[in-house]
Amino acid sequence: MRQVPATSAAPAADTRDKADRARGRCGHAPAGPVRPKVVLTEVNDTVRDAGGGTPPPDGVPAIELAAATKRFRTPSGGVYTALRDLDLRVEPGEFCAVVGPTGCGKSTTLSLVSGLEAPTAGQALIHGKPVTGIDPRVGFMFQTDAVFPWRSVLDNVAAGPRFRGMGKREAIDKARDWLRRVGLSGFEDRLPHQLSGGMRKRVALAQTLINEPEILMMDEPFSALDVQTRQIVQNELLGLWEMTRPAVVFVTHDLEEAIALADKVVVLTVGPGTVKDTFTVDLPRPRRVQEIRMQPRFVQLYERIWTCLRDEVELAYARSAGTAPADGGVALEKAGSASGPAGEGQH
């Protein structure tokens, strides 16, 4: 697969910057070449990482879930609680990864922020204002392919601006520009089914980012890709994110992916989901996901977060497998250490 022009600048600077970045609270304060509005902080009371956090500048996070609870009615007439009293803050320009076991309501958090669903109790806020419907500042990338299969690649990317009332010619020009940024120039007239999985993800990425969202929701967007393709697309995502710096909530079950991409990793408990712990990822940016996982700091973070996540994963597995926690626990612990932080494996 081709390297994308837009992102290729970032990895080049990577190794050079590593040394200086490592000194401070890297990742955050030091400004990269393209980083207009970066002020990244943590919510003080949830920070577990060494060093603490600097207080937010104006105290208004880009995204906030305050004691959010979401219940669903099940088809059998019962009530299922997906989220319980979940608190989450994401500062403007911050990349927040949410990890948790299967069925802990990770995706539900995204629906609440994007306005696709309303919380049953508590609040979802964007820039301090309650979410009342779909907010035009929000972008959403779905787990499964959500690009429209009946539209050409170009029309898919132009869809957002067209839906928002931009003129056809202008929207098409903008879409061409974004296709170039994700390295898909020359594929304008293809249909989605004629592309590889990685290329379809890049179409989805361009389709979402063309609206220049300030808030970006990502629901395990790369989980269907093979490991090599996934790493390439992850790099591309980071490169594109650096350009406009939206606040991101990135849901994944892959802890490696979470640490490689994010400034902050939030661990959710097994459902009903609530925040178990929050970890700051002080790895330098710009990052190159293929290499960052070999850094000692990465391994250290991985071990620490995995220790936190492991219990939840074991519990979730025990529930789904219907076995006693002890049995499932042993099996999973082995699997966890085998895949290891630097390995390519899934857990």
Partner: protein, 292 residues
């Protein structure tokens, strides 16, 4: 990859070429065999019928004969029928059919999508739709003759009713089956509910809708013909009815042949339309549907 192909010796290429040639000739032989079998069936059936009629095994008066059907067609096309030229009759029937097909399809798609999109509406309408669907449609023909008289509107109405239900249920189901992610994605990208309906739901449900059109055109034709048989001033159904009253078996068969030819032409056009609207689908999926 490139190195591998370069180092691979020549014979591999010739092997592939030979295999491809063999496969081609196998395919050609198979096609010829199938065509031969089809021709044989036609010859046996038509020839047997003709032979039977000539030898007196089959009563010509009751069963007609292929030569009789041909001469009847010749008469119709050269001298016209009792109710004007044959082209006029074909035009009347086709007009009723196409009009009924279009009105029924549009109504079925609009209502199907509407009820598919709004759950409450569907719940309200469900018993009425079910009741309407349970009425044997052909009896409506009599009612429509009373309402609209012997002109074409009664036939159109019958065709509409027949087409509507077959399209409606598919459009409804297709709308319900639209991937929730497509809708959520469009909404987040900024689409209004109207745009979601026209630009996401409709194209997505099109697979279902188009599948119903094949059957729907057949229903439209049935509606028009049955309407004409029940009472009309012109049309193919009326021709068949006339022939039946005169105990002209050849006339009935000739009418059937013309109708079948029209249905085949329409089927061809609908398949073309289907390939056009569904060309975004992977070819192995839409290709199969066009096969039969």
């Amino acid at each position: 990859m490139a190195a591998e192909t370069l180092t691979r010796p020549g014979p591999a290429d010739t092997d592939e070429a030979t295999a491809a040639r063999a496969a081609r000739s196998r395919r050609r032989n198979r096609r010829l065999l199938i065509l031969g079998a089809q021709v044989l069936i036609v010859v046996v059936v038509i020839g047997g019928w003709q032979l039977g009629a000539e030898r007196g095994w089959l009563d010509k008066f009751t069963y007609g004969s292929p030569s009789g059907v041909v001469s009847q067609l010749k008469t119709w096309f050269s001298q016209g029928t009792a109710t004007g030229s044959i082209w006029h009759n074909i035009a009347v029937t086709m007009q009723e059919t196409v009009l009924g097909f279009l009105i029924g399809t549009v109504a079925g798609v609009v209502l199907g999508i509407l009820l598919g999109r709004f759950r409450a509406l569907a719940d309200v309408a469900a018993p009425f739709i079910k009741a309407g669907n349970s009425i044997p449609r052909v009896v409506l023909g009599s009612i429509f003759i009373m309402w609209f008289g012997l002109g074409p509107s009664g036939k159109v109405a019958l065709a509409v009713v027949l087409v509507f239900f077959s399209v409606f249920f598919n459009a409804f189901q297709g709308t319900r089956e639209v991937d929730r992610n497509f809708i959520a994605n469009a909404r987040i990208l900024g689409a209004s509910e109207w745009r979601v309906t026209t630009q996401v739901v409709l194209p997505s449900a099109m697979t279902w809708i188009v599948a119903s059109l094949h059957a729907a055109f057949g229903f439209a034709l049935i509606g028009a013909i049955v309407g004409e048989v029940l009472g009309a001033q012109a049309g193919l159904g009326q021709l068949i009815e006339q022939a039946q009253e005169n105990f002209n078996a050849n006339g009935v068969y000739a009418g059937i042949i013309i109708i079948a030819a029209l249905a085949l032409i329409a089927e061809f056009l609908i398949t073309r339309f289907e390939m056009r609207v569904l060309r975004w689908r992977p070819s192995e999926l839409s290709g199969d549907a066009a096969g039969l």
